[in-house]
């Protein structure tokens, strides 16, 4: 195998349990996003645009959709000889095998893969963030600081610091303290889960961490604190552009809505930094005679005969005459029947909303509703059919397993 300066390891095995029914059958990085993409496209495109040509994608939870999607990496120009993209599920070794226990253990189990490329540096990435970042600039920073490890950080509002790992740095950017989800934060620089390490050093820390039975084998909880304690030079690399963790229903919906602002912070049509995705060549979208489309994002293969306002409509979705879709995320292949109403909802792939159905309507006085997210977003599972007689109150999360008996008030 050819020697590489840097190998990227993309952690894509997470279940994304906070996305609930949206990740029942697929890993979080495979969740559709932004009209034609899947979440992992952003990280893979960043690699490709940054000139990285060896990427290991670590999979574990529900990998079939993701495996089929990545294929040999052609869509991201990562079908390369002597590198390219390699999908890395856990495997059985001579001492037996085990699942990936944590982020650090996942990389530990693939030490041999990394060693094949004999790199100077390893870039650790998560497959569940939406951002455009040039990793080659971060690598130059890492080298210029003579760091053992560099952690990409982004300033977050102080009131949200408790959700992140935060880095306190000195004036040179060297990390002096790391707090994992602190109650009282000393800094508002949050780790983005993007790390560059010198491979030799990282390897020894991974091996030591694996030998520590008390460790939860996690980069944030174990590796970074151990390196700091040992006095390794760790630096923070500040990133000031758009970055969003889309791990919850709220953040997934918000990140989609961010794209349809008049002047979005994350521009998708940037010819110098394209976001690549696996495309089936659907025809251009057809907007019909009575259609009314405003403030929205629509992809190929859509047929719009109704009204679409402030929504993101994915590849191959159809909105029939008289249907109204507002403030919603309509995933690939969804059909919204005649006269149906969809408000502030996420509709899963290939689901059919039959003519006349109402999704995301306000509760009637006295009606009991279980709202499961901050924004009151209604979520409908993929590959189901919502009968035309149904009225689904805002904030409901609807999974087919709960369907056999509809509450009576749901039938309008």
């Amino acid at each position: 195998m050819q020697k590489k300066e840097l190998v990227a390891m993309l952690l894509a095995g997470g279940q994304g349990s906070r996305l609930g029914i949206l990740t029942k059958k697929l890993a979080k990085p495979a969740v559709p996003f932004g009209g034609k993409y899947r979440i992992i496209d952003f990280t893979l495109s960043n690699c490709s645009n940054s000139g990285i040509d060896s990427v290991g994608v670590l999979t574990q939870y529900q990998p079939l959709t993701l495996n089929a999607y990545i294929g040999i990496g052609s869509a991201w120009d990562l079908d390369r000889s002597g590198g390219g993209v390699s999908v890395l599920p856990p495997y059985v070794k001579d001492q037996g095998g085990e699942w990936y226990k944590g982020t650090a253990n996942a990389v530990y189990q693939n030490i041999d893969f990394i060693a094949q490329h004999d790199p100077e540096y390893v870039l650790i990435l998560s497959g569940d963030h939406i951002y455009k970042m040039d990793y080659s600039k971060m690598l130059s920073y890492h080298k210029s600081k003579g760091a053992a490890g560099t952690i990409a950080v982004i300033p977050v509002p102080w009131e949200e610091t408790h959700r992140f790992g935060v880095m306190k740095t000195d004036e040179q950017g060297r990390i002096v303290e790391f707090q994992e989800k602190p109650k009282v934060a000393k800094s508002n620089l949050a780790s983005m889960g993007v790390y560059i390490f010198n491979w030799k050093e990282l390897r020894s820390y991974l091996e030591a961490d694996e030998a520590d039975p008390k460790s939860s084998n996690d980069f944030g909880k174990n590796i970074i604190p151990k390196m700091l304690k040992a006095g390794e030079p760790l630096y923070a690399y500040a990133f000031r552009e758009y970055w969003k963790d889309v791990g919850t229903v709220d953040s997934l919906w918000e990140a989609n809505m961010d794209l349809i602002k008049k002047d979005p912070d994350l521009k998708l049509n940037d010819s110098k930094w394209k976001i690549f995705s696996l495309n089936h060549t659907y025809p251009p979208q057809l907007v019909g005679p009575l259609a009314d489309v405003q403030g929205s994002l629509l992809s190929d293969g859509c047929l719009v005969l109704g009204r679409v306002h402030h929504s993101v409509i994915f590849t191959g979705a159809q909105i029939e005459e008289g249907a109204e879709v507002t403030d919603s995320v309509i995933m690939p292949g969804v059909k919204i029947g005649k006269g149906a109403l969809v408000h502030k909802a996420i509709i899963g792939e290939n689901t059919i909303v039959e003519a006349g159905a109402k999704i995301g309507v306000p509760a009637r006085p006295g009606e009991k509703v279980e709202i499961s997210n901050e924004n009151g977003i209604t979520v409908i599972e993929d590959n189901v059919c919502v009968p035309g007689t149904m009225r689904i109150v805002e904030g409901t999360v609807l999974s087919v397993a709960e369907w056999p008996e509809f509450p009576e008030e749901w039938i309008s």
């Binding site: 057809l286 994002l297 190929d300």
Partner: protein
Amino acid sequence: MRDLLGIIDLSEPTEGLGELTLHRTLGAVPFGGRYRVIDFTLSNMVNAGIRNVGILLNDRFGPLLDHIKDGKEWDLNRQRDGMFLLPAPLRTDSSEGMSSNLSNLRHNRSYLEKSRQEYALFSGCSMVTNLDYRAAFAYHLEKDADITVIYNQEGKLASHPPYTAVVTDGEGRITDIALNPRECTSRKVSLNMFIMRKDLLISLVDYYSARQKRDLFTDAIMPRLDELKIFGYEHRGYVGVINSLKSYYQHSMDLLKPEVWRDLFFSHGLINTKVKHEAPVRYLEGSRVQDSLIATGCTIEGTVENSILFRGVEVGPGVTIKDSIIMQKAKLGPGVSLRNVILDKDVTISAGKSLAGDPSFPMVIAKSSEV
């Protein structure tokens, strides 16, 4: 379908297409918002399981090669079989125009011989349709025909000459063929697609090219009508022909009907094309879009009615586009108004300009022009 070899001919006449074919062969003419004309024939062949496709190149093929590259988008970059580019013989005389398909086939005879397929499907690329070659091939075998000609009778092909009418008997055998007949003998119009044994094709090519004949169909197949069993296979479904500006415009506008859109782009498989990774279309507040086909990479703030926008067109506030076809990356200044216009690729229209053609004769602005 491993037994069927596909051959695509690019020598159909293009004079009627004016500026659209000034610098490009017919197969490379942009169509339907994101496609080139050849995508339809190529995708139909691949969707039917054909794995060996030869393309008879003629002149002005640069844009075509840039589009099809190594055939990867059609899964034709194969170790065995795949896509083959078959250049025309070098012209020793100074005569203008394209070399004929017979001389082109003769020149690439070794490709035909070496291919392991027993049958050949020969097709022009002016017909825009989504058809099932598997069914046509099954028909050919079932009828034990020498040659099967694929025809269509529901389209408007006869109103866009030149065209070839065929007459069939009760069995489906072709009994008469006429070029642009004055009196309508039949509504059945040949799609310029023929299936026959490869060795029959080679023998026709050998015989007629040696006698300085030019066209496979009119010079080699028509004279054998009585001698060979020539059958007609009817393809039902939408067919558009791209042979004049008028037909180009009309058949483009047909795509705005949902039933045509569905038939042409989905009926027997998707039509593949070169992928450009453009972002989804952005509709801003205040946009007004109706009866239009919009490709990815467009941003719309103005008005678009009854029109086709190719990839990456920006329609700013105050811009009005009606009954028009706007190709890739057009730059339209503020307040531009267009009606019955075809803008070729990379055209720039400066602020406030108003251009209008006639519904029966659209105004064409050549590639990379500045108005």
